[in-house]
């Protein structure tokens, strides 16, 4: 009886400790998630009228919306353009910095510094490169006698320009995880393979790269999340233009909610983002965490 009481007290105490976090998570994570789902079945009430239930009408509109498909395609290209490139670069950087290298401290700092900057500042800086008339890139092309490129204004180039900037911003962040992983590889492996005369190339592909797999998966998850979550740079660089050529899902949500004031349609697009994130989360919790154990 006594013990039961003590247990009960522990439970209540524990629940009280959880309470502040639970209230905040409920208010700003669970409630809005559920509300987003519900709102995607409604039309906003105009002039004070209550919202109107329309079933799947918003989703039908979404399927018909060519801009939505364009934006979704852009986001896919954006993910495919940024993720493998920044992962490969990050790995290369980590290998460079992990080797004996004159001025290693500076090199590492140079790679990592973009990570510290806000996306807005990074976009401002890249604007000086990309701007059509006075931008540095076109000045350089001009000096070589070549005609300039409209880096952010030409629909066929703009998304690539945005991707390049994102890779610059992200690669250094992923580098530090590779660097830490490389430093935890026992040097005996390298010594043994040197004795056997294994080439550096095959040592990398047969020993280092497989050992780095958990890091690669971790970085991949982060990169996937960032590809749908971070759209700050669009506010400076392109505003999603020209003609939606660089528009990404979350930016499209923002436009619909705060420029076109179509709250329920914005909710419908948010549901798509939530689905993507759910897939990423499932990937993480099932495929990846099954291998790494933590208690």
């Amino acid at each position: 009886m006594m013990i039961q009481n003590a247990d009960r007290r522990m439970q209540i105490y524990g629940a009280l400790l959880l309470l502040p976090a639970a209230v905040l998570l409920g208010t700003f994570a669970y409630l809005p998630t559920v509300a987003t789902l519900i709102n995607s079945f409604f039309l906003p009430g105009f002039r004070g009228a209550p919202p109107e239930f329309v079933g799947l009408e918003n989703y039908a509109m979404l399927v018909e919306d060519r801009t939505f498909w364009r934006v979704a395609r852009n986001n896919l290209i954006y993910a495919l353009g940024t993720i493998p490139t920044s992962i490969a670069l990050a790995l290369g950087m980590a290998l460079f910095v992990n080797a004996r290298l004159p001025g290693r401290g500076f090199v590492r700092m140079a790679y990592f510094t973009p990570t510290i900057l806000p996306m807005i500042a990074a976009a401002n800086i890249w604007m000086f490169f990309y701007a059509p008339q006075i931008g540095l890139f076109n000045k350089l092309l001009g000096a070589l006698g070549l005609s300039g490129v409209n880096w952010l204004g030409d629909p066929s180039v703009a998304l690539t320009s945005v991707i390049v900037m994102t890779v610059w911003k992200e690669a250094g962040f992923f580098m530090i995880f590779y660097l830490a992983a490389l430093q935890s590889i026992p040097p005996e492996l390298k010594e043994a393979s040197d004795l056997e005369g294994t080439s550096r190339w095959s040592f990398f592909w047969r020993v280092t790269f497989p050992l780095l797999m958990p890091t690669t998966l971790f970085v991949l998850i982060n990169a996937l999340i960032n590809a749908v979550r971070v759209v700050d740079h669009l506010f400076i660089l392109t505003k999603g233009g020209p003609n939606n050529a660089t528009n990404l899902l979350l930016y499209y949500v923002y436009e619909n909610a705060f420029s076109f004031f179509d709250r329920t349609y914005a909710a419908t697009i948010t549901v798509v983002i939530l689905l993507v994130l759910a897939v990423v989360a499932t990937l993480k919790f099932t495929v990846i965490d099954r291998r790494t154990h933590y208690q």
Binding site: A21, F28, Y30, G172, V253
Partner: protein
């Protein structure tokens, strides 16, 4: 190749010989220069008159006018204050809320604890900025629109912080807790005297990551603020430098540097701690 050649030269000679840097060294340096160049360029543009934006001249006059202009054209002092209040408030509140929750998850027999913990982890994927539409409605329902509290509150119960602290608390041996209990400490005292001090490195790591995140955060603050009184630096900078405002570029560079300077300087001074923190916070 190169290494073999170097080895062939006698040690004494090689010490003085001018070594040709290896292909790798060259590539590493080249990449480093490309990577740091944008920032150096922004610094160049900020400290020289606008005419030198794309004209490199070693003897170009150095000026602080761009900074003076930026400072005069937008209320950066207010933005600084807002960002400072935001970041301090968020980090302190996160420490309190996440510590309590992590302690509960690590040490208390709450029914359905694992399910609850999984529910918390969902927030690692569903961020406040993804839910801008509904979070804006909730913030406005609570009267938090255009307040610094409104910017920070959705981030206070951070799944990430709860997760990190729980992992740390779980590694702390129970014997220490028992010892404190024998001395008559209650749960709060045990938390504050045993767990929190031993988790200091985690607090430092999480704090640094959180500071950089909130110093740099943009989308949610943009949505939830609409006046100078609450806007943080990033939003202020975003509005100030939007291309359609036609502010001249040297001024924009100066404004950009102004807003990144504190964090950048802190990073350059405490590089090791920053990198360690990001690592510690990232590796799970």
């Amino acid at each position: 190749m190169n290494r073999a050649m170097n080895r062939a030269i006698s040690p004494a000679a090689s010490r003085f010989a001018l070594r040709v840097p290896s292909l790798e060294t060259t590539a590493a340096w080249l990449l480093a220069i490309i990577w740091i160049f944008p920032l150096l360029y922004a610094i160049w543009a900020a400290f020289h008159p606008p005419a030198y934006m794309v004209r490199f001249d070693l003897f170009a006059p150095i000026t602080l006018d761009n900074f003076a202009n930026a400072w005069a054209q937008a209320p950066f002092a207010r933005y600084y204050l807002n960002t400072f209040l935001l970041v301090t408030g968020v980090v302190l509140a996160q420490f309190v809320v996440c510590t309590l929750a992590a302690f509960a998850f690590a040490r208390f027999p709450i029914p359905g604890r694992d399910v609850l913990f999984m529910l918390v982890l969902i927030q690692l994927f569903v961020f406040p900025e993804v839910l801008i539409v509904e979070n804006y409605r909730i913030a406005s329902g609570l009267g938090l629109v255009d307040t610094i509290t409104g910017i920070g509150l959705p981030y206070v119960a951070s799944a990430f912080g709860i997760f990190l602290l729980r992992q740390t608390f779980k590694t702390i041996p129970r014997e220490l807790e028992e010892a404190a209990r024998v001395e008559g400490c209650g749960w709060m005292a045990i938390l504050l005297k045993v767990y929190v001090p031993l988790a200091k490195p985690t607090y430092l790591a999480y704090g640094l990551v959180s500071i950089s995140h909130h110093w740099n955060n943009f989308l949610w603050p943009l949505v939830v603020t609409n006046s100078v009184e609450s806007r943080p630096l990033t939003v202020g900078l975003g509005i100030f430098s939007a291309p359609e405002t036609g502010v001249n570029w040297a001024t924009v560079s100066a404004a950009t540097l102004l807003s990144i300077a504190p964090l950048l300087v802190a990073f350059l001074l405490f590089q090791r701690q920053f990198v360690q923190s990001f690592l510690r916070a990232g590796i799970r």
